[in-house]
């Protein structure tokens, strides 16, 4: 918790960049919303969602961009490259948990200052669907929280690639790329062709953005919602375990090479 709080404070130092990010997210939100609304104008409902749902989805997904580090967060990889990672490894707290807490703090900051403002602007200018039932909000907040952990689960192993490669930028960039598309930032998953959509919905990326935002729209309830959580939790367990074994291998390598 203390680690998360410190990360929160550290990132609040970048006010200018935050403001600029909000402007960018908002503008992209309006462009994407207009495109999909134009599609709804011809096609009517798509995958059970109407134009207002989709506009809401677009601003929701924009709000998730920064929070889930979809543009390729390389913080850990950079520390590995510069060797600063050594001091992190000697800390008396678990390395993976330390970074997870750090990420949660960062995500909390991004959610409040990068996520909410574009959504509010979108809601003022456009007709968005804001849930009124507290149950929907609760279901959404839990799904969003799991989405942030899941995003960390994906990003952590990609960053650890820096232990084995001189330049891990490519690996991180490609992972982020997959995330942006498969988590539903370019198009909502329900716009995808059916076969593709079915597969994409099973991948971990879907649980990062698409499923939480759809939960906000009230699309997942009851058993369906339980399925969403199960998918998120399942992938979290798998990815954190994968990250952990990679970390062990990396530490072993460090010991062998004498740091």
């Amino acid at each position: 918790m203390a680690i998360a709080r410190r990360a929160f404070r550290r990132f609040s130092a970048y006010r200018g960049a935050t403001f600029a990010g909000v402007v960018t997210n908002t503008m992209f939100g309006f462009v994407y919303a207009a495109v999909f609304v134009a599609a709804h104008a011809v096609a009517g409902d798509i995958g059970g969602f109407d134009a207002v749902d989709t506009a809401t989805y677009v601003f929701g997904a924009q709000a998730f961009l920064a929070m889930t580090g979809a543009h390729g967060d390389r913080e850990i990889a950079e520390r590995i490259r510069t060797g600063e990672i050594a001091s992190d490894l000697y800390r008396p707290v678990d390395f993976q948990l330390w970074w997870l807490s750090h990420d949660m703090g960062k995500a909390a900051y991004q959610a409040i200052f990068r996520g909410i403002p574009p959504f509010v602007v979108g809601a003022i200018v456009l007709d968005l669907r804001i849930p009124t039932s507290p149950g929907t909000w609760l279901a959404f907040l839990l799904a969003a929280g799991l989405g942030v952990v899941l995003a960390f689960g994906v990003r952590f192993p990609a960053n650890l690639a820096a232990f084995w490669m001189l330049d891990a930028r490519g690996v991180v960039a490609l992972t982020a790329l997959a995330q942006v598309f498969l988590a539903g930032h370019i198009v909502p998953l329900y716009f995808m062709p059916d076969g593709l959509e079915r597969v994409v919905r099973l991948l971990p990326f879907a649980g990062i953005t698409a499923l939480p935002v759809e939960t906000l729209l009230g699309a997942h309830r009851g058993l369906d919602l339980a399925g969403v959580y199960a998918l998120q939790l399942g992938w979290i367990v798998v990815l954190l375990a994968a990250g952990r074994s990679l970390l062990t291998a990396a530490q072993h390598k460090l010991v062998v090479h004498g740091g």
Partner: protein, 272 residues
């Protein structure tokens, strides 16, 4: 005199950009991976458009082929601009740390020096991808080719590239005055690329005003495409505007030149 300066600028650009390419090539694995990710990012943009058209036959009355053509024109223009001068965005850290000084002690135009020194080859990936889309879209679109339309296409690409270049330079010049909001530039450059890939009339009116009158990005693709594809627009725009892209390009160059010079003057009077 002016011609000589332009020739010298181009020669310097070539020299410095080639040096940067050789430097980047020292890190081959990263170079290749970043190149691949650039190609994929741009491919993903187009995949997004293709996906939307799996659910609808048209967008604002435009077919997939029409929008693909629009995307190709906008993508080639913005891609070329990004390739040539997009690295001007590196000005922000340079001004903040004072490294910009090092650009001024060389006998090279400061803008040429900056863009060439930060030249990023992988951005050619965007150009290549958009060019493929443009060629295919031009081939399959049912365009009634007249001499005017044949001439209009290259003229549009050149004007669009110039407009996009100017947009990059203007937005990057913000860094001379304030280091804090430089990323807003991306809204106009990459955001402009995205917005000009779609028919203008599907957007809210304030957004249309923004890309028509504030930053004239509508001249990059939409207006000339109306002429080349022979499409109607629901917007009340004078029809001669379809041919006015070169004029918009000239105007943008004049503005960009003034803003860049004002920025440089400001930097030199405030120091780092």
């Amino acid at each position: 005199m002016v011609g000589e300066r332009i020739r010298a600028g181009l020669a310097d650009y070539r020299t410095l950009a080639a040096a940067k390419l050789r430097s980047d090539w020292q890190y081959r694995a990263g170079f290749v991976a970043m190149f691949a990710s650039t190609v994929l990012v741009t491919a993903m943009d187009f995949a997004g458009i293709a996906v939307v058209f799996t659910k609808t036959p048209e967008l604002g009355g435009w077919t997939f082929r029409d929008v693909a053509f629009l995307y190709g024109v906008a993508g080639v223009s913005f891609g070329l601009a990004d390739f040539l001068v997009g690295s001007v965005e590196q000005i922000s850290p340079r001004v903040r740390t004072g490294v910009f000084d090092m650009l001024l002690i060389r006998p090279v135009n400061a803008l040429v020096n900056l863009t060439a020194s930060e030249f990023t080859f992988r951005r050619v990936g965007k150009v290549a991808q958009a060019l493929v889309v443009l060629v295919v879209a031009t081939a399959v679109a049912d365009i009634e080719w007249t001499l005017g339309r044949i001439l209009m296409l290259p003229l549009t690409i050149v004007s669009g590239t110039v407009i996009a270049c100017a947009t990059w330079v203007i937005t990057a010049s913000i860094a001379f005055f304030t280091v804090e909001t430089q990323e807003i530039a991306n809204t106009f450059t990459y955001g402009g690329d995205l917005a000009t890939s779609y028919p203008l009339h599907i957007f809210e009116s304030w957004l249309r005003v923004l890309v028509t009158y504030i930053v004239p990005l509508v001249f990059v693709s939409y207006l000339p495409a109306l002429y080349i594809l022979d499409l109607e627009t629901p917007l009340a725009l004078p029809s001669w505007l379809r041919f006015a892209s070169p004029l918009a390009a000239v105007a943008m160059v004049v503005v960009a030149r003034a803003v860049w010079r004002a920025g440089l003057r400001h930097y030199r009077s405030t120091g780092s």
